[in-house]
Symmetry: C5
């Protein structure tokens, strides 16, 4: 297990919410400063592409599959839209939630129009759901497409969301994706570092970036520039989307121990499996992320020996 | 009659409105969990195309025809614009209403500009009409054109409307239509499933979709992916617009019993008939939807033997 | 005189404003249910084109001409912008006013850009003027260009204005004009009927439409579809803009008695005359509209024998 | 001196502000109903073009030059942006100010994009400066580019500003300029009259127009249509920008006595001179405008014999 | 040391905030009226380009480097985004901060779209951070791209920010950059002067401009027009971005003593050095700016002999 870090509370958390922020941060990182985020916002982001089709387990067709995984598996937080949480939350009261505040479908491509993803919900509505329904809503998330012609809208909403969320003691995760006609190489390590730095400048607790690539291949060391640029903002990263389980876990391990990230955000790679396998895969990811387990130990957990 | 389902109240309904939500849900589904929605928003959506012309009964020229049908026929809810309800509601106080909050005309085609339909009324105004005039306003509706360049506006308004409506104990129906330059096949079953899933992600109680087609022909089984993707959000579907009455009823029956939908949203197919026939057709549809009647029994009702 | 109709108060008029609405409706229709609207919003809509030039009486150069006519002639209501009413109203306190809430100039043509006319004033400001200055402001008006790419903005403002106006006991008139690149024939009877139906759907008390034409010529019977489509929303119509006086009055008579309209909205045809003639023309129009006078009787009034 | 006119207070001035409006009107017109407006908004409108260059006195390089002129010369009101007033006002407390609420630079030309000049300050902020700092802020101003594709925005802001300003007892001046791709001849007398009429329709106290031209040459008589169209809204006009002093004064005299205007708005022609000359030129203009002086008398004042 | 100037408090500072404004002004200028602004907003403006790469010291990779410099070096104020201040401010409570309220990335170039940089934070949020966290937030900053098609948005936000900031006793700095398709030469001295004059017109305390050039080379005397145009608004300037240290200091000295500026805004030239060198360079700049030191003395300080 990594040493429990001191929790540095940002100054836009008012004094009356500092204890809640500290507790939320402790819960979302299992006291480790590391984040295992189970991403379940794809019902809007990718429509039904991630939930039905070749190679996808039939369990995944039902949205409740996401909640079952989040409930039985070991996750830091389960990120999805507010509407879905409101619908299933009563039956899954113990899941730690992060409300993803914006989402767009994948229908309009960048060749047609630069990407724009606007707030669907305001921070205040996530806070209301937390306070009225007693759910364990620990944080909020938002995606920024840097380099889009709509960047000003998204940067504004992101900056406001971080500031507002902190006002209510919530943890923030920003998905930082360079994308648009002006962006030649979304995975360029220097550009990814820039994106991570923007998340730091607008005060997010965590920044999710895609793994940088040079010449088409990933290398965890390429993350170091982003990790440095983000400073006290923790960088989390997606694993390889096409990877086999051991490859995925090795990449995650490298991202943390070579690249310096503090965790991962994983979605499809988890929920496209049967409930049982998804839970075991969650736990394997969490072992690496939260317990500093090695890949072999994680593979044992995935294999059911956890 | 289908077994009365447990009513699962979403968590964005505050405790003081939960009894009203439960009662609204019970009324709008006649206690069955199924929805027979009589759609009467075409005076804006289709201008006068649905109300005058060849094959349309002269009764349909008068907007009051819609209210007469809704009053005498058996419907779960009659959906139309707030202005029309305010004008005729005093004479039809017993009709169960759903306020359709957005509408656009059909003049600007997708080849000219991607579709955008913006809120005409706020949820609060529907609530005011309910509370001041004592009308039986059970819910609100909204159309989302996924894949339009204006998708962000509509997704935002839809998400806000569901959240606000639940705050006041109202039931929500979202019309989910993929449309725009980026949409190649609006009826593709996988895309329709994606649209139904979006309605679930933003928390709607019901999603209305168009019947999916493969190779130009409908097949109720194609709805299963959408029904699964929508999870606890009930899917309702339009019948075939050109169908004969028995074909229409058979398709509806199949949608429910083969496709897994929980009802229908029908407009022109009802109101373009004389008042008497329209009422009988309403009742035939409701028999299938609400009573699990077979097509033969529904045809008897349509024939006046109900 | 047509039989005094029952006044049906729409349900978005709150109980404390119902008496005022009833009184406003009675005044604006002179107790007949018919509307003679004297339109004086052209100083923005047509700049100075309607007020100076060949065939226009010099009296019309001064904006006060409009108020003099409205004061001495018999009109249901005088429609113009709030600024003009605020400037002259103190000297014309007995004129019944309708505040036209939006206006645009005629400089940017449809070939350059689809028409958009946005609110200049909010309903609340018309109400303030009524309540503070004690003016007889009976209603508000707004123009909607259906089929414009800016239709969503105008439909939203129109729906909101009707709802707000009713909240304050005011009568509403919507100018419903199909216009824009998508509109091939603005005068098509079926399209005009659609426009009238939209006004009904958003709850307006009256809809002003342009006289429909087929093959370039008007025929009052062509209005019947619009009158039916509008239901309880009264349809009023402009007279022929180029017509001689007897032709104009005959057309108006036909519109009411053949087409089923409940009145007229007339501007230039009145105010481009000398004050004396304008007043007599007003009174002739009102005789047909409000008293069910025949064209001969109206011509006698116009000739000074009224 | 022209006879002191009755002051007609518009009805959107509430009763508790009528005395202030009357007093502001008296001050801004020196009790004459005529307006000598010293325009000093060019630091944004023309950047530094009017303040440094050939033929411009070095005194004009310093923004304080404007305040020195306004303080020592005889002006009805000095119009400039709020920021500049806030910076220098403490040292020039006796200057009568008019806050110009919108401004744009001259960088983006009409060939690139239709002109748009949006509010920089709200009326409320001018009122705050008046009430907190005790400055003599008598009115507010705003420019409308009629015929621009952004006309709806500017017409809305202008109408709102007049209504709000009157609510606080302030006098309003609208700069009415037809401009944009749709405008062929900005100086056409009929179009200028239309622009003046729009200012009347939205209730402004004064409208500033550019001198109309036919065939490239000005003629004060061409203003008569605009003066008539504006009705009770006073028309003020710029002098010839290139004229010699006697020509300028003659044109101003003609505008008033031939064209019927009630004053002038003059900027560069004043402030591009040395302080002493600028003050004498101000006084000459004011003699014509406020005292009905002849051109010869005004020339004596300009020559130092005033 | 330059003589301590009288502090002229602008009139939009309310009386209850005048003492705070005076104190902020004294602190930010070290009582001299001169401003040494350490600019650290590049993590958004230039992504990671200024923080990693050839010729950049590895210390600069970590955002905390900026705070270490601001804490140990002698600066008037450290300008960066609110999010970063909130994250590191607790450990650097003695740094004087200026919150840069808008920022954009450099991904979308002017050839693709005119520049737009919109508010990320409102003045009120900077005030909240000051008041709740007890940080020494002395002012706010904002960039305006004059000549961009988005100029109206930025001029409005800038004018509002200055007015709001003064309301809370804060000092304002506007970055005034002509940029966009309409701008042929961003460094033209007359245009730079125009930009400085705009900052004066909207009331900013300081305007940051880029050094003007004629024929590609800078000359401090070219600043005089801008300094004059800005009047009481102090002009600060960037040093040469490519210059050697002595060249940089000489240019700064010339800007102040030849051009008439009141300080500098320097970013990369400071923070791309090691902490120790950056601090010494800061101090050298401050010696010239705040103490009227000569270049030789400043070089001694830079060399460690300070």
């Amino acid at each position: 297990m990594p040493p429990a870090p001191d929790i540095r509370i940002p100054l836009d958390v008012p004094s009356e919410e500092q204890e809640r922020y500290r507790e939320n941060y402790r819960k979302i990182t299992h006291g480790t400063g590391r984040l295992m985020l189970f991403a379940g916002d794809q019902k809007i982001e990718h429509l039904n592409d991630d939930f039905a089709g070749e190679g996808i387990h039939p369990d995944d067709a039902d949205p409740e599959h996401l909640f079952r995984i989040a409930s039985r598996g070991r996750v830091g937080v389960f990120a999805t839209q507010l509407g879905l949480i409101a619908r299933y939350g009563r039956d899954y009261p113990d899941v730690p939630y992060l409300v993803k505040l914006n989402s767009k479908t994948n229908l309009v491509g960048t060749s047609q129009s630069d990407p724009v993803s606007s707030e669907l919900y305001h921070v205040r509505q996530a806070v209301d759901l937390r306070d009225r329904a007693g759910l364990s809503i620990l944080g909020v998330g938002y995606t920024v497409y840097l380099g889009s012609e709509y960047e000003p809208l998204m940067l504004y909403q992101a900056a406001q969301i971080v500031n507002q969320a902190h006002r209510y003691g919530l943890i923030t995760v920003l998905w930082m994706y360079p994308r648009g006609k002006a962006v030649k190489d979304e995975r360029d390590p220097h550009l990814v570092a820039g994106a991570a730095g923007v998340a730091a400048a607008i005060g997010s607790d965590f920044a999710k970036v895609n793994p940088p690539k040079v010449g088409g291949s990933v290398d965890a060391a390429l993350l170091r520039e982003a990790v440095a640029a983000a400073g006290r903002t923790g960088v989390v990263c997606a694993g390889g989307s096409q990877a086999s389980v051991p490859e995925f876990l090795q990449q995650l391990h490298d991202q943390i121990h070579v690249g310096g990230t503090v965790g991962n955000a994983t979605g499809r790679n988890i929920h496209q499996r049967s409930l049982d396998e998804a839970v075991r895969f969650c736990n394997a990811i969490s072992a690496i992320t939260l317990d500093d387990a090695g890949v072999d130990e994680a593979m044992r957990i995935y294999g059911g020996g956890g």
